[in-house]
Symmetry: C2
Subunit: 122 residues, 2 copies
Amino acid sequence: MHVHIFMDKNCPRVNVSLLDEMIHNLPDANVITRISTTFQVLQSDTRLKILFLLAQKEMCVCELDCALDVTQSAISHSLRTLRQLDLVRVKKEGRFAVYHIADDHVKALIDLCKEHVTECSP
Amino acid sequence: MHVHIFMDKNCPRVNVSLLDEMIHNLPDANVITRISTTFQVLQSDTRLKILFLLAQKEMCVCELDCALDVTQSAISHSLRTLRQLDLVRVKKEGRFAVYHIADDHVKALIDLCKEHVTECSP
DNA sequence: TTTATATATGAATGCATGTTCATATATTCA
DNA sequence: TGAATATATGAACATGCATTCATATATAAA
């Protein structure tokens, strides 16, 4: 893992060895990227609504289609994105694709964020 | 608050009154939007690195500038965005603008997401 | 006051992403 | 087998955003 302090900037407050250690403590670049990708997926109203609905009960695509004011196509695209990050999972039931929240981390994440947002109201 | 079930879609699995209740249980539209905005801000590698650094110690802009391989301008823009959502806060110390994490929710959020990402490795 | 440093901001650009439309696949039912 | 329903996918368009460059403001040092 590369650690690189850009000392050409020459900030008088920098403690080089401390900063070096702090940079070492950063998650690996690929972990950072996966975290940001996850948050990126949680950044859409439609996908959030899907997650809040699925948190209550597993649902097939056409149920979601009844509940949300977007195209069925948009819902499928959203679900694929959520699936790719393992935020939701599918099981086939006859001709229906029934989606459910992947695990409790996901619920905890959105609940925590909801807390943050509703507590401080700027 | 409007609840609208789109029954023209006519999904055989829909239980109208249940779905109606589930839609009522959704957070208000503006809360959803604020949640998605928050996640949107957490979706950038640069801003995440800033948060992971600030989680270790408060830092001024030029310290961050030494630690990260992006422009000082980019860092300032990122910090403003983080500030606007109350994810970080500033205090002035002489000519330095010293930033720190706003509260523990924020730490908890990114830690939880890091957990999720590092546990399931697709 | 002049100079240097620290931070912020605006404009411009390039890239990514969400949605819709059109269409393809898959499953059930007649 | 054929028709209807359920879901997925691709292309296209429009929008939003992160970064950089250039520059402005603010604080300190000389």
